[in-house]
Symmetry: C2
Subunit: 105 residues, 2 copies
């Protein structure tokens, strides 16, 4: 309760990952820099929507953007975020196992 700001800050970063499209972007950016147009092709959304997602991720400090010519490029600032997804996939597998068990029981 005392340094609640720390938890709010953490939540901001987590929120910046809490959307299917943004997770897809992180996964793509983990392999290297991508331009906005490439990222758009990965999801079913308009360019403005993609741009806003990227802005949110940038604001949270997850990615950084640069401009080259008339197109924008983004790259992942924190590769360790990929480990999170491995962890999450483990969570999901565990949940699936518990479901299976409870059916048996």
């Amino acid at each position: 309760m005392e340094d609640y700001a720390v938890y709010e800050a953490r939540a901001e970063v987590v929120k910046a990952l809490a959307h299917p499209s943004r997770i897809i972007f992180v996964e793509a950016l983990a392999e290297g820099e991508r331009c906005v147009c490439e990222l758009q092709e990965l999801v079913d959304a308009t360019m403005p929507t993609v741009s806003r997602h990227l802005a949110q991720m940038k604001n949270a400090g997850i990615v950084t953007g640069r401009r080259e010519g008339n197109q924008g490029y983004y790259r992942l600032l924190v590769p360790c975020i990929m480990e999170l997804f491995h962890c999450i996939d483990a969570v999901r597998r565990d949940a699936a196992e518990r479901m299976a068990e409870s059916v048996e029981t």
Copy 2:
């Protein structure tokens, strides 16, 4: 785009962590099982609100709950989630450094 469901599922788990109170609960539960009343004391919210947060986390497969007497106990199912917070704190430190640099420059 083809197995979009995987990304939606991941997003559900991430969303279940995307709130200051829920992050506080995860941190507390990382140290061991806690009853609902103990968790409530950690945050500024009513019992129903705490209960809903815990239900969401349970639904996402992050925690599991049991009843003993007339009080409920929860425990963390996936300790690796704590690594996420270390990663996030690193993200925040990096962001702070970049801020400092951009001021100098």
